[in-house]
Symmetry: C2
Subunit: 307 residues, 2 copies
């Protein structure tokens, strides 16, 4: 089944202990789309500027990603510059230029209307809500957000949460959103805001899926997926979006959404997040194969399974 | 097979968001022994003062822990006071009184000499080394340490590491000991110092077992065990020692130390660490049953396994 994703398509300049890259193709919707494209059809809603050229378009085309919903606007694309020199786990933002993103009015192409899977990547919750409301037929809706929206735009975000089946955030965001330090308590509080499932990403320690109700035949309301023990994190930018792409892409590729399918989706999320960190920007995600992905999936199984 | 453990038997006063307890029976060797006692015979080497009475002795006796190696000295037992009010994951030390521990000279009773499993709990590496050298027949030797010894007694600690099969430490200690931020690189550097296996404990995110050489039939040099998603951490003191007790206790109870046995040992370590946090001091560890332990083991399997 096809996924529609709304979010940023951008250029990033990043520096990490492994080096520096100027103006890589980036943005949450880009990472998400590339990761999900290995599992299912993906349709993007975004806005780019005149600096988005044939080279960038070719990346989407090579992965058969539908870009009819990417609007071209006069001006420059969203630009972010960050540094991981001090802390490889947390970016220090050096510059953020919204550019054409400042006036973004998401438009959903008619050709996208039959998408049953909708992903609201990290953007202004007002826009997330608008896209959610314009796709009432979506069967499964997931979304992401960040500290900025939690801190300064909470009322708008709470409206979005009511329309989500699954929220994907990190530990700090979950604690901040819930106002609770204990993660299990925080997860329950967040699910009381709307989503019936919550994925909390723990960076190098993996991720936990929480269910509002314990799935049938299970004893636990949660499931833990590992992260890859990486000897070198070249660039962690987009790891969370790539996790979301692997997770949601795998879900959308399955006929039935059983508890077991959600578990495997968590593994595929971690797999795609780990690949994203191995090279700068979306470089690694651009060149994967489904075989390499499944090989890592099996490695993850060995990493965590007793037998 | 019996385990000999050397370490502290002490009294702790702790305050956490869940409350306060005065002078609980505590100490690394106490937590370790109680946790390991559910799996195998345990023999303790320690020193206590005149405040260690019939009540404390009864706790060891109830778990058939051999205390002939616990020396009674004039004075008071080791005392520690800490607070978790600011951070449930990291104790703030308010008071440390070495008391009789200041002059501790570990003596190994003859009855302990056939122990093939030796655990060197977190004490002065000079003492750890002395006990290690006095037990040349030990088949498997594991140990723990802490930031204080890494920072200020590194040469002595490095001598201990040469005699260890397995070191158990937390992330911060692994990074500090290796002088490397990346955990995989840090693990390799630590194993180059001696131990052929390293267990890195990640607190609420579980723990990773690293092997110096990839075990036969496997692809990964590491294995990840989860931690219990706890809705309330009453008192995290001793969680690491209890992990070590469950891990090493299970190993000592097995006929063959296969890679699969080490994986299950990691799960039992996490299980015992999670129980330790559920009540103050060693309260929860004192009242467990093997059935409750195995039930949680199966819960951990469900928490992490795809099928």
């Amino acid at each position: 089944m096809a996924i529609t994703v709304v979010g940023s398509v951008a250029f990033d300049t990043v520096e990490t202990p492994a080096g520096r890259r100027e103006r890589c193709l980036a943005g949450a919707a880009t990472y998400f789309s590339l990761a999900a494209s290995y599992f299912t059809d993906v349709r993007v809603i975004a806005v780019v500027g005149e600096d988005f050229g044939a080279e960038q378009q070719a990346v989407f085309d090579a992965h058969k990603i539908d870009t009819r919903g990417i609007e071209r606007a006069p001006g420059k694309s969203f630009f972010w510059q960050g540094s991981y020199l001090e802390n490889i786990n947390e970016a220090k933002t050096l510059q953020t230029d919204l550019n054409v993103f400042a006036g973004f009015e998401p438009k959903i192409p008619d050709a996208y209307r039959d998408s049953q899977f909708l992903f609201l990547a990290n953007i202004d919750p007002v826009l997330q809500r608008r896209v959610r409301e314009a796709t009432p037929n979506a069967k499964l809706v997931a979304g992401d957000t960040m500290n900025y929206w939690i801190k300064d735009h909470k009322p708008a975000l709470l409206e979005v949460l009511k329309g989500l089946d699954i929220l994907l955030i990190n530990d700090t965001e979950a604690r901040m959103l819930a106002g609770k330090e204990n993660l299990v308590q925080a997860a329950r509080a967040v699910m009381d805001m709307g989503p019936r499932m919550l994925v909390v990403k723990h960076g190098e320690y993996g991720a936990t899926l929480f269910h509002k109700s314990i799935p049938k035949g299970h004893k636990s309301e949660s499931f833990r997926a590992p992260a890859m023990p990486l000897e070198q994190v070249v660039d962690p930018t987009g790891a969370g979006d790539s996790f979301a792409g692997g997770f949601f892409g795998y879900l959308a590729s399955q006929k039935e959404l059983t508890p077991g399918v959600f578990r495997r989706a968590m593994f595929y999320g971690s797999v795609m997040g780990s690949f994203a960190c191995e090279r700068f920007g979306t470089e690694r995600l651009q060149e994967l194969t489904r075989e390499a992905i499944d090989e890592r999936f099996h490695f993850f199984r060995e990493l965590t399974h007793l037998d």
